[in-house]
Symmetry: C2
Subunit: 298 residues, 2 copies
Amino acid sequence: MEKILECVPNFSEGRNLDTVEKIVDSFRGKDGVKLLDYQTDKDHNRMVVTVVGEPEALKKTVIEAVGTAVRLIDMRTHQGQHPRMGAVDVIPFIPIRNLSMADAVDVSKQVAKKVAGKYALPVFLYAEAAIHPERYNLANIRKGEFEKMAEKIRRPAWKPDFGDAEIHPTAGVTAIGARMPLVAFNVNLDTDNLNIADQIAKRVRHTGGGLRYCKGIGIELKDRGLVQVSMNMTDFTKTALYRAMELIRIEAGRHGVNVVGSEIVGLVPMEALIDSAAYYLGLEDFSMEQVLEARIME
Amino acid sequence: MEKILECVPNFSEGRNLDTVEKIVDSFRGKDGVKLLDYQTDKDHNRMVVTVVGEPEALKKTVIEAVGTAVRLIDMRTHQGQHPRMGAVDVIPFIPIRNLSMADAVDVSKQVAKKVAGKYALPVFLYAEAAIHPERYNLANIRKGEFEKMAEKIRRPAWKPDFGDAEIHPTAGVTAIGARMPLVAFNVNLDTDNLNIADQIAKRVRHTGGGLRYCKGIGIELKDRGLVQVSMNMTDFTKTALYRAMELIRIEAGRHGVNVVGSEIVGLVPMEALIDSAAYYLGLEDFSMEQVLEARIME
């Protein structure tokens, strides 16, 4: 695989494992495509698939999987705790190797056009693929969920980017777009005072005047008697992990509190960590081209 | 590529580019094999190739390249500054992914047996593949070089591990073995006093009572007015880069000197850097399986 694109489609089925497997089958045994993970959640009644591949091959498998989901999932009877508006709730494409964000946006638009035509499924473009600024944020699109979408989509402001202003009767609507990889990065503090974690999170995150590509909240780890600054790093190429860590350390010092550890939840691109290694080791003139695995994947 | 083995064969030709290209051709356009680099040195009259691949495919290309080198290089007229004992001076195999050192040793023995039989080329097993302890160190085998090898190899102590006790008339002998990836890691100090770098290198390296898998010397960077502790990390899975860095920082403090930067020369496996990122970020329960690229290469 010379060019690697990631896709993390969310399907509104987390209970009927027969349906789940039929959807996931689209990603199995395909040349140029690698299924990395799929997780179902019964409470959410939802499945999240993580798959990577060459753009063309990946596109085909995603379109196929959308077809299966549209055929098998009936949103009229769907119940689950997670907000959702369609059988395929959202499809983000993420550039991983030798691809730009513009390339990922292109792919997302091609897939959006294709599934809108092939399955009569209205599609909203979101995140970096959004054409309308109010559609950048997925929550804005999804507001009202499946149940109110038939009405919402007929309003001129919510005309879909592809397909008719008419929901698919059983599959609802879908959001398709492109974004950077997210890194879930949590930093633990040696206090049980949630207020301190909250205050630090507020100062470190973008909305509180902190780092541009960092979202964060304070949470309690009750069994450990600790609190945590729980972050989503939304573009590690611009807001490095070490910068968030060192800012938290500084802010924690104001409270007489120490950083005692951290964690990464789920997958992380190697560059996000190698970048922090390069900072802490003080590497001069280091290039990702020196990483053996990067060269192998070229 | 599910399993990745690296090979860094050294050929005794760095001037005749026609011969160089013919040897390198063996590594081009082969399924399951990727040529990462080849560098010729005219003064050394030597070429170093870096190639990775699936074990079976890689084995075949290496055997083919040895055949080409044996056919085209005549050691009787070879001159160069680097010590050498054969047309193919040394072939190390290095386990990179989903392979153990034992697997790399197996491959090295298979290649040794094959080239000894096919090309009448005596082979010494060295490093982790060595059967005789005095053959662990390549310099011991190479001592006397091509010119004295015809006599040396007839001594019982230097009977080759594969092939007859008779050098190949034009290609000499070859050492084949297995080792861990080397990481060339240099740390710069804000002094021009070479003696300080020498003393620190001595304390940090294995032979001076320091870290088990660390070799090191002090060198001067005259144009920058700095000195450097120049290291070879011979097994980063056991002697981590950050440990060498932090020990150097501590020792430098004794001299009132600071670490001002570092560099990695050439290629480095991602794990060597991710391991240091995990240390400095204080990551708890981190697994290489969380690295996206590691999962893609699985």
